[in-house]
Symmetry: C2
Subunit: 392 residues, 2 copies
């Protein structure tokens, strides 16, 4: 049994508990997660029995890759009959089908509803996201390799950092080194309208410019049509250079931040950087199975308020984001989120990026981010880059 | 009046014809198109009067950038009241609101429906896509600049192409050169589950491996989790190297393909390449206002069948795609598509990438792609790279 079939089996157990007939997986990332192939089509996992991967293109590749029965998608008119044939339900019993309503567009959902008349639909997206929260050893291995690639790329680039270099030039160097080492060139996000271009690489005041992006760092970007991350600002001695980067290896993402500086930071920013490290150390001390995700955020809030840095934590003023970290895997924005309202107890196999940062408008962003695996006894850091402020 | 307000005005004219109360623009690309800002939130364009941009983050940047009244999104409870206040309708008349159901996820649509009880909803996505089909001079200028960047990057990379170089190394070089020249690092696509990583750069048999991607070229990719474009295949003398690349400048995309070879192609592939050029020349001869989009595809089909290459055109066998070209602008997959069923008459301001290609399983893909502006008198080629097969 492949890891993909084991995932289907877990989902089937949950479906049986709920009385669902099956799960029609439509999102390419979820399809890959459950069958190991990412061709165009639909993966139907019945509550019992073999999964059916209905593929438009490329059938050949789906047949080579997928842990599922593969058939050509063919006519939508045959969809109802073919899905029903996979279900244990009596021929006239109504189907109860889950799918990912957090990402599925309304128009396509309408087409699916019309193709499966009489079916009841259920939003299965949270269940999928909760299953994906716990990583298997192969997933951890891929994330570990991505961490190695990010570190190697960062180290390869550091000797080339110079005053007067533009943010986008630094980003171009980083991306080149990442790609040479196996980065697949995408940073997938699940949330509607979300995009990420390798990460947030920005310097001084430009890094502190707020963005729409649901993260603590900002950046001007090159143009209002992609208003985040690297722009044309030049690296200046004494300013914090935020290098918040990731990459994708074998489908899995890593996320890591280091603060760099040419020369020295001014004492106030250096102090804030030190507090970010202290927050990360304090969080590590609490990072273990059973700890409630939101508590880590609330504890960090207390700590930064005591340090007098509450107004600068994870953005500034109205543009603050209200989290300390996030799950990561096939997508950047996975569960659990270390934020208020997320009551998940940490569990072995979770992979979480933790990123305390402080924003000083007009001056810059300082902080650190590492990605952690929750283990039976606590945690293991997956990111391997050198600790501390990096002086160039 | 800004270009963004002119676009709102055109949309308002269409809404008045249809009796819609307003358009709730939710997709980040469309929000940018209509107001010049891409922050997180919703842009409401009433059938008459000023547009309202309700912004979650970053309010500051939205205020600086947007051609619309900007307010904090605030509580969803106030949404109905605030949208109604923008509409000319009587206080008790039901609202009839269009939005982009081709991209809006079901879950978020449900939230919007709950926030606006009693509103009737309309799928406005086709209207938006049809408006965006006709580019304004500023949009054409951005696409022209993207074309210049792609050409400069290609020329910068050509001298470094060597036998034994891996596809992904060539892609990394291209991306580096694109980014140094202003490429924003994204290739936006609208269709669900669609992704593009700079383009399709692949060699020999690997380029002919079919993909899920809705385009004629393939590529193994680095892993089944991103199964398209560059992989680990090495460049070999005499094999066609397909360099189908684009970039984004000021939000706008370009798409261009050149076939490269180290040494010479074998006669059969050289012949197919020549036919691809002939198809492009024949298409250019028909490219003018009034020509129906699908006819260009059907004429090309006739031409390649006469040349005995029908089985290889735009992919091979079951993995053929059934189009000759596509509109391009803020997204790669814009209207019109040069494919059966697309009855749009060409009109001045349309920008269309035309990409005749031939796939030979086990041997490679050859072809050419240029991007054209439809003008009053015919067309202008926006891509500027050198013509013909490029011998390295």
């Amino acid at each position: 049994m492949t890891i993909f079939q084991l995932r289907q089996q877990w989902l089937q157990g949950e479906m049986i508990k709920r009385g669902w007939s099956g799960f029609l997986v439509t999102h390419h990332v979820d399809i890959y997660y459950y069958c190991g192939s990412m061709q165009t089509g639909y993966l139907f996992i019945p509550a019992e029995g073999e999964a059916l991967y209905l593929v438009r293109r490329s059938l050949i590749r789906a047949e080579e890759e997928a842990s599922a029965d593969v058939e050509a998608l063919g006519s939508w008119k045959t969809l109802a009959e073919r899905l029903r044939a996979r279900c244990a339900a009596a021929a006239d019993a109504p189907l109860w089908i889950a799918t990912e309503l957090d990402v599925l567009p309304v128009q396509l959902f309408g087409k699916l509803q019309a193709a499966l008349p009489g079916a009841a639909w259920e939003d299965g997206s949270l269940l999928v996201r909760e299953q994906r929260m716990i990583k298997s050893p192969d997933e951890v291995a891929a994330i570990r390799e991505a961490a190695r690639v990010v570190d190697a790329a960062l180290e390869a680039v550091i000797p080339h950092i110079r005053e007067g270099m533009a943010e986008f030039e630094l980003m171009a160097l980083i991306e080149h080194q990442l790609r040479l080492r196996g980065h697949q060139g995408l940073m997938r996000m699940r949330a509607y309208n979300s995009e990420l271009i390798t990460g947030m690489v920005a310097t001084g005041a430009a890094a502190a410019v707020p963005t729409y992006f649901d993260g603590p760092a900002g950046g001007t970007g090159l143009h209002p049509s992609s208003p985040q991350s690297s722009g044309r600002a030049l690296l200046v001695r004494g300013e914090p250079i935020l290098v918040d980067i990731g990459c994708m290896v074998d489908g899995y993402l890593i996320d890591q931040t280091r603060t760099l500086v040419i020369g020295d930071l001014d004492p106030e920013l250096q102090h804030a950087y030190d507090v970010a490290e202290q927050v990360l150390r304090a969080t590590e001390a609490k990072l273990q199975p059973g700890m409630i995700a939101e508590h880590l955020y609330l504890l960090a809030l207390d700590q930064v308020q005591e340090a007098g840095l509450g107004a600068h934590f994870m953005g500034y003023g109205a543009d603050q984001v209200k989290f300390l970290g996030h799950g990561i895997g096939l997508e950047i924005d996975e569960l659990p989120v270390l934020a208020k309202g997320f009551k998940y107890p940490l569990a072995p196999g979770m992979v979480i990026a933790i990123e305390p940062k402080f924003t000083f408008p007009g001056r810059g962003v300082v902080g650190v981010e590492d990605t952690y695996l929750i283990t039976d006894s606590g945690w293991e850091k997956l990111t391997i880059s050198r600790q501390g402020l990096i002086r160039v």
